[in-house]
């Protein structure tokens, strides 16, 4: 039983967090440096973007996680520290400065950056901000969740409590979207903490498996970022018998993890740049899991469908078109499509052809903030879910002039 609780990444035992303005961003009212700290060394695992262009912080983090252990996560927003001359130096020095301040090893620091690619960066804001950041450490996760935001309009946080071998454990997470979102094997920034005891190997396995059906099923604009990373810390302070092999405890951990990651995935999609609504595509009846995932992502990734959803236009031909070109193995003659939301459900296509439906009801269904696109393939037992958002004037506005 996984239960939602308050507290974000600070809900599990032994974690504190902070967020301050250090000056990477000019706007002094926006926090731009976040810290998550575990009082005890934790098992740690991460997944990274598959973009050939990888942010310098990812290279440094990968080195630091070679031993499967970490104690702190530091992240700035406002500059991606990518495709610049001194990226690895900056990322390494940031870890060193933070480690010195906290009295821990630099190798136990996970470092991340998000913002514009290809901008020069200096250590100056970090030199000024890190002492302040350490001083600000506390049990509220909100300042850190705010500090990692870029074009996000809301902070994205969750925490859950779950049972592991009779011991109550907790897990918390935060994530940032909201543009350049088309995760592939890894994803946007997501930081997850837990007080569950689990080996680094099992933690890496849990995370690697989980992202396939959580963050990797999100798309906002089809652009896979250079700085995607999800990192998890598990410090064992809950006192459960350490998880070191598959079994019931591992399953409980994975279920809690999935609750956290799916919640954050949905929040990222719903807060996609300029979005007015969350699109949730559920594909059922696929031949294979891979076909189901490909089709679900194909539908929520279709630019034309996204624009139609903005206009609350039940243009289901665009759903079929996307199913047809996405690469999934599908018998189009068996495809059915329904739209569903709090306002009701409307069937618009059966056996690959249109069915009569009430345009009035369809407009109501599509007018809600969360719209399910239900696609049945009639070909097998596999299913998958993917999340996206509508394409709006605001998306164009935000991205027509992001740098300035």
């Amino acid at each position: 039983m996984t239960e939602i609780i308050k507290g974000g990444v600070c809900a599990p035992k032994g974690y504190t967090a902070a967020g301050v303005h250090c000056g990477v961003r000019r706007n002094r009212s926006k926090r731009d440096l976040a810290l998550i700290y575990s009082e005890k060394t934790a098992s740690a695992a991460a997944v990274y973007t598959t973009n050939l262009v990888k942010g310098a912080p990812l290279a440094v983090t990968k080195k630091h996680l070679a031993d499967g252990r970490a104690r702190a996560i530091i992240c700035n927003s406002g500059n991606a520290n990518t495709c610049n001359a001194n990226g690895e130096y900056i990322a390494g020095e940031t870890c060193a400065l933070l480690a010195a301040g906290l009295g821990i090893a630099a190798e136990d620091v996970i470092v991340a950056s998000t913002g514009v690619i290809g901008q020069a960066m200096s250590m100056e804001p970090f030199e000024r901000g890190i002492p302040e950041l350490i001083k600000a450490l506390g049990t509220s996760s909100a300042p850190a969740a705010e500090a990692i935001m870029t074009t996000d309009t809301v902070a994205k946080e969750i925490a859950v409590e779950f049972d592991c071998g009779g011991v109550k454990c907790r897990m918390g997470g935060m994530a940032k979207g909201s543009g350049m979102i088309h995760p592939n094997m890894a994803t946007m920034l997501g930081f997850i903490t837990s007080d569950c005891a689990i080996s680094p190997e099992m933690l890496a396995m849990a995370l690697g498996e989980d992202v396939k059906s959580s963050f990797n099923m999100v798309t906002v604009d089809g652009d896979t970022s250079t700085n995607d990373m999800v990192a998890v810390l598990a410090n064992g302070l809950a006192g459960n018998a350490p998880i070191s092999a598959p079994g019931a405890d591992y399953e409980a951990f994975c279920e809690a993890l999935h609750t956290v990651t799916v919640y954050l995935s949905r929040r990222i999609a719903g807060d996609g740049e300029g979005a007015t609504k969350l699109l949730d595509c559920v594909v059922t009846g696929a031949k294979t899991l891979s076909d189901a995932r490909t089709a679900a992502r194909g539908v929520v990734g279709s630019t034309l469908l996204k624009a139609a959803m903005f206009g609350a236009d039940a243009n289901w031909g665009r759903v079929l078109c996307a199913v047809g070109y996405c690469g999934a193995d599908v018998d189009i003659g068996r495809v059915g499509v329904k739209f569903r939301s709090e306002a009701g459900e409307v069937e618009v296509c059966a056996n690959g052809a249109g069915v009569d439906f009430s345009e009035e009801l369809a407009a109501k269904v599509l007018g809600e903030d969360e719209v399910y696109i239900l696609v049945s393939l009639g070909d097998g037992d596999a299913s998958a879910e993917a999340w996206g958002c509508d394409l709006t004037y605001e998306y164009v506005k935000i991205n027509g002039d992001y740098r300035t």
Copy 2:
């Protein structure tokens, strides 16, 4: 020597064309039915969409082209005749009606449709329109070029004259964009006529090879249409020695064909839905042709880059990001990027990192109607060119409510 001349698809000897309003569209001021007719049976070839959802007209055309011969092309706009109950019947009957009126075989008719997917369709507009269409046949290609338009803002036509074994031949073409444009092996609608004598086999080879570096390098929104088709007729009335094998004459034909298809490709991209500018990405120094094409298409297909180009924002990080995720085999540390237009040229990235540049000059360069994005990979000799357009408010507006 390929020279541009006037006359569109009617420029070659023996072709007439017509465009009328038959009532597939409600708006009576917009022509919606086009005909291209050859007075002599022509060698004919076509390429089709790779979308699993294929418009019914494509199935009928494929059957009719089994013998590599045709005399007429009929195309309606306003309804894609796809994913409806009676699509093949409608397409077949349309060919039969037209053939009866023209006194030719129904198997010599190529049929195409473009418009909304999944809408019911009846023969009634065709029964009314086809006699009128035949009566209207004349030497002006403009009414037909208008009749195939959907959200296109301008008709797209060209004609060329070329020398084939000492004999002057002509070739003409028309195409429609302008949304759901991400051709794959085939493309949007393109109709090409020629009076050159060439065997059906050589014609099919020429077209199949050509689209790889013309229509298939265009993207507007990443959505591969269900009704893409390019068809070519060559009736031999120019009197040249028939082309039935590779050689100088075949090369001359291919060169003319490429001039026609690249012109139409560029027009389609520049008139992409809501576009304010044509983006032309030239990738050089790739390891393989496939890498070059993948990278060029990846760059002009990036939603984020398209939005930045709308805002004339020299956000070259998005070019690198797209090169990084598109799947091409690239050494990012060697990549260089320049922007060029009539206003000048500006280098923004060298060896995978930013270089100092004048933002003022960059804004001027990106403010033009045609912008070249020059990407050098420094990895080999292969190069490719792809065409796209910016992403604008207007695109969202057009597609938020396309059906109504």
